[in-house]
Amino acid sequence: MIKAILIFNNHGKPRLSKFYEHYNEDTEQQIIRETFHLVSKRDENVCNFLEGGMLIGGSDYKLIYRHYATLYFVFCVDSSESELGILDLIQVFVETLDKCFENVCELDLIFHVDKVHNILAEMVMGGMVLETNMNEIITQVDAQNKMEKSEFFPFFSFSLSLYRRLSFSLPGRTGRHRPVLQERPLVPYQL
C-alpha cells in the first residue's frame, strides 16, 4: 500500500502532497521536511530506495524516489508493494503529466495543483495502484475535463478547444520553465 505521495523541489517546498493515511497538519509538514532532508542528501548515482524516516511509520516503510530536474517525486510505500513496480509507476506518472501539460515543468505543477491531483486520482486510489496505462489515464482525464468545461460553455463547442489551449498555457511563463523531463535523460530510459 502506498502511504503518501510527495512532490517537492530542490529547496524542499512542497508542490504536491497526498497522504493515504490520516495525519494531522503539523505531522504532515514534518513528514515533508524530514523526507526532504533524507532525500536531498543522496548522491546522483545511488539507488532510489531509502529506508524511511521515523515519522511516517516504523520499519516496514520505505521511500522510493526519483529526481527529475528541479523536482523530487517521492512515494512512501510499505513492504507489500514491489519496489521496481513503484519506480516504473513514478515514470508513468511523470510521462502522463508530460502529455497532459505539454513539456511539463515545475511552474505547471505550481499553478495547476488541482489538475495534478485529478491525474493522480486516476492512477492511485486509496493507496493502491489503479491504472498504469498512460493512454487510458489520459483518455479519462480528458473526458472529465471536457465535462467540466461543458458546464461553462454549453452552446459553443468550438470555444472548448480554444479555452483548453488557453488554460494550459500560462501567461507570463518566466523563471523556472525548464521542462521537467528533458533535463534528465529519461525518455530514452530503458523501461
Binding site: 512542497p14 504532515e28 548522491d43 545511488v46 539507488c47 514491489s82 519496489e83 488541482d114 496505462n133 523501461l191
Partner: protein, 636 residues
Amino acid sequence: MSPSVPLQEMIRAIRSARTQCEERGVIQRECAAIRAQFRQADNGGRSHNLAKLLYVHMLGYPAHFGQMECVRMIASPRYSEKRVGYLGAMMLLDEKQDASLLITNSIKNDLSNSNQYIQSLALCTLACMGSAEMCRDLAPEIDRLLRASNSYIKKKAALCAVHIVRKVHDLGELFTKAALNSSCCEYYFQFISYCFWFSFTVPDLVQIMKGLVISGYSPDHDVAGISDPFLQVRILRLLRILGRNNEAASDAMNDLLAQVATNTDSTKTVGNAVLYETVLTVLDIKSESGLRVLAVNILGRFLLNNDRNIRYIAMTSLQKIVGTDHNAVQRHRGTIVDCLKDQDASVKRRALELSLALVSASNIRSMMKELLSFLSSCPPELRSQTASGIFNAAERYAPSQRWHIDTILHVLTTAGGDVRDETVPNLIQLITNTSELHCYTVHKLYRALLSDISQQPLVQVACWCIGEYGDLLLTGECQETEPVQVTEDYVLDVLETVLQSHMSSPSTRGFALTATMKLSTRIRSIVSIYGSCIDVELQQRAVEYNALFKKYDHMRAAVLERMPVIEKNSQGHTNGETIKESQTVKVKPGEPQQPANQVQDLLDLLGGLEPTPITPGLTFTYTHNELQKQETGRDF
C-alpha cells in the same frame, strides 16, 4: 469560471512575497477573504475559494474552516464544484471529524448517478478516507457497482472494496461472490488476496498467466517487449498468497513459475521486475527444490547486476530466505561482502544485515575481519547495529576465548561510543569466566587505556580489570603478550587521569573509584604476602603496614599523607644508601597520595575520625630511624 484563474492569481501573489512574514500576511488576508465568502449564501466563485484553500493547506497553514464548505460543494449539482469538493474532502476531512459523516449521504447519491465520472469521484473519496461506519453503510452500493458492466467503474469499485475490507474485515464475505463472477478485471486480484479460500481459482490464474507469457505482441499492454508486465506482477503476487501453506495450489503453479523464470528477458528493468516477483513467489510457496535453486540463482545474477537498485532488492529478498536456505545464500557470500564497500548507504545497510546473518562457525574469522574493517569506515547510523551484530556473532561462534576478547576490545577501541549499555557487564562477565587469560586481558586493557581514554565503555572495562587484576599487572610477567613494566604509581596515575578527565562520564568515574579502592586491598594482600618474606627489612615493613590497615586504620590517612619538603642533607653517603635501598625494594606497596585523599574523603563520609595533623617530626610505634622515614618519603 473554472477554478484555475483566481487560484493562479493567488499563487502568483504568494510566490511574489519575498519573506516568510510577507507570505504569512498574504495568506492570512486571502484566508480572511475566503472565510467571508464562505459565509455568504451562494456565489459563483465557490470552487475557486475552495481550491485556494486547498493550496494554502498544502503549504502547511490551517484550513479546517473549509470542511463544511466541502460538504456543501459535494452536494452541489455542478461537476466542477463536486470535483473540488471531493478533493477538499480527501485533504481536509478524515474519519475523526464529524463532518465526514455528513457526506455519506452525498456519496450514496453520487454512487447511483448516471454519470460515470461522478460515480468515480465518490468511489475515490470513499477509498481514501472512508471510515468504518461509512464503509458499512455504503457496502451494498459498492457491491452493486462491482457487478456493473462498465469496466472503468468496476476497477474503481474493486479498489474501493479493498479499502472497505481493510477497514471492516467482516464485509469481505459480501464481496467475494461478486468478485468470483467477474473475470476480466485484474484489480480484483489485489482485493481477493484478502479472502483466503480461493484455491480453486488457481488453475484459472495459471491459464491467464500462461496466455500472457506465451502470447504474441499486443501493443496496448506491451512495455518494452514484455506483454502487460503489471498484470503479470499482480497475478504472481496473488499466486504467492494463494500458494502459501497450500500444497495443492503450489503444485499447480510450479510449471508456470519455472516457465516465467526462464523465458523472461532480464536485460530490461521490466523483465527484472517480473523475475523479481517470480522469485518472491517461488520462495514463499511450498515449491520444489529445483525451483528454489533456480530462484536463488536468479537472485545471484541480480547481485552481480550493475544497477544498484537491482542489487538492493536482491539483497532484500536474500534476507528473507537466509533463515531457510542458508547454504544457497552462502554461495554468494563473497559478492555480499563486497557490497559492504559500496558507496551507497542503502546498499551498505542491506549488505550489513545479510552479512551478519551469514556468519557461521566455519567462516567466522574471515567474516569478522571484513566486519571489523567495515566498522572503522561505516556511516555513523550503522555503527551501533554493526557493533551489536559483531558481538552477537562473536558470542555464538568464537573459536577461542582469546580471539573473542580481542574482537571485543577491537570493537570497543574503534566504535566504543556506539555500543549498547549491556556490553560492559557482558564483557566483564566474559573476562571473569576466562581465568587463564586474566593477565593477558589486563595487559591489553592497560595499554589501550594509556593510548585513549575517550571511549567510555572501554575505559569502564579497563578500570574494572585493573581494579580486579592489578596485581597481575604489577608482577610483570605474562605468557601471551609482552609484559608492560609498570609500577603502582603508573597504574594509579592512569586511574587518576581517568577520574579527572572531562571526557569521563559519571559512571566511568565510579568504575575508576572502585578500582582504586580495590587496588588498595589488593596491594594490602601483597603487603601481607611479604609478611613472611626472608628479607627482614621487607618483612618488618609488611607486617607494620598490615598493622596499619588493621589496628591503626584511623591513622592510616594521616600517616600516609604527603611528605613535607625534604631538606637537602649534606651527607653524601646517606643519600647513596637511601638510593640503594630504594632500588632493592622493587615492590613497594605504598599508598600514594590519591587514594589516601580518597580514603580520607571516604572516612569523612563515613563519619570517621578526623585525621590528626602531622608534624614532620612525629614518631610512632614503628622503629624506623630517620633515614628510613626519609626514604619512605622519597618513595612517595
